[in-house]
Subunit: 251 residues, 2 copies
DNA sequence: CGATCGTTTGATCCGCATCAAGATAGGTGG
DNA sequence: CCACCTATCTTGATGCGGATCAAACGATCG
């Protein structure tokens, strides 16, 4: 499939790529599609391409010997898939990547990427920044795993989803199954389910796949006001800015 | 304090820096010392420098509102301190850095670093690789937090120390206090202490600060043989290569 | 309409945190 | 050299959060 320059420029990573560089990139890459449930690559596969998601969502996970799935991340349109692996010294994939929904991805050969990284100096800068940001969020998440309760993590994640997808805080649908979200949060689906009950008192109501927030900042005895770790990830600030913006415009 | 080019070249990050670049870097940076227990910077401080450890060790940690210390990492000579922050968009430190022992560090102004990153293209490459590797290890550690028992994590960490410091597996002294190690592993010191007892059956004996390993690969019912996550970090392979090398050279 | 997948609810258990005391060791001053 | 102090480590008792196992429930689909 041939790629439009528009498609390329729609991706944050290549948003300000020059015409020449873009043309060269287009010649060396292609768009592939990955149906819901299909694997893009599996743990142990040889690393052949660097991927950027154009549409859809991918689950990055590992499988324990016991057959348990550990979800490391859920990536969406605009995200790059395996920057660490392209940059790092690995030759085989350390994780599995599977489509959460029908997806399409830009696939760039790793060899080409490694050879030409220097030419695209602004790209290298973006990758650097991207890695730095991801490192930061993974560190924050690791910290949350040990300092926050399951309920707090779920609450934070729901806010994060709301910001990330630009959903209306007063009502939106979960973009993934609850099982997947639980796995992403490294808790069991049973725990997740029970947690949702207790969140009702905190102004977060989930029925079926429908989520709605109430602004509880005044009566805030729960939430993560106590928890500097949660502040650190920046989601809280963004979330409340969102709430404020809405209340100004009415509703 | 003026810096010798030798000092610079001893750091992995600058090992293959050119004479000119080195001279320029020396003009713009300085060596500072940080006594045991002293803070290099604190959470909330403005980010002024990029640091590389020349000697000693630094604890990177955050403090919970409850006063509990969460150790994110313990960095040693050769490690860079705040790459993410220099590269990323932050303006204030998100964590505390405190000297575990008397240390000296190379301090490079952030502004200078940001301006000149492009000139040092091989440096940018190293930073990129460094970030990728760290991202990978933090992800693996996050995974271990939820899949491995405290005993398994301690065992892994002791092996890691052994490889990192090039200690003799048959007997070495812990480089940090047990309290610090426990904090680094995100477990309580009490749990750490109890864990050491149970590890005795697994061929790992710790008395006081003295550690010694027995090669249990044949009778290996415990360890992390079960756990692909542990394999992933590469420490196991390195550790056993070390054991094998020793046994070839006699004992 | 059965079959499969996702979700909820209940009962139970285990690992680790927490609280509370001792124990050990280094370091200091008398 | 001993008494004292403080920092670090160990040991014991207890409780809670979340994992695990089991089963019912709801929804979607061929």
């Amino acid at each position: 499939m041939t790629i439009a320059l528009e498609t390329l420029k729609a991706l944050p990573l290549f948003s300000d790529i020059s015409g020449d560089d873009g043309a060269m990139l287009i010649r060396n890459s292609r768009i592939i599609s990955c149906k819901r449930g299909k694997f893009l690559f599996m743990h142990g596969d040889k690393i052949t391409h660097f991927y950027v998601i154009c549409r859809g969502a991918m689950q990055i996970f590992r499988e324990t010997p016991g057959g348990h799935e550990i979800t490391n991340d859920i990536l969406i349109a605009g995200d790059s898939l395996n920057t660490e692996e392209v940059v790092g010294s690995q030759t085989v994939h350390a994780v599995n990547a599977r489509a959460v929904e029908d997806s399409s991805l830009l696939a760039i050969p790793v060899s080409w990427m490694r050879e030409n990284l220097k030419e695209f100096d602004h790209i290298a800068g973006k990758l650097l920044q991207n890695l730095a940001d991801r490192l930061h969020s993974v560190q924050v998440e690791a910290e949350q795993l040990t300092t926050m309760s399951a309920a707090q993590m779920v609450a934070c994640y729901l806010q994060k989803l709301c910001v990330l997808y630009d959903f209306d805080p007063h009502g939106f649908e979960l973009p993934y199954t609850k099982t997947l979200i639980a796995s992403r949060l490294r808790i069991e689906k049973e725990t997740f389910s029970r947690t949702l009950q207790t969140l009702r008192d905190q102004g977060i109501t989930v029925t079926g796949t429908h989520v709605s927030f109430k602004d509880m900042r005044k009566a805030d005895n729960f939430s993560c006001g106590e928890c500097s770790v949660a502040e650190e990830c920046g989601t809280h600030r963004l979330f409340y800015e969102k709430l404020d913006k809405l209340s100004v415009h009415g509703t």
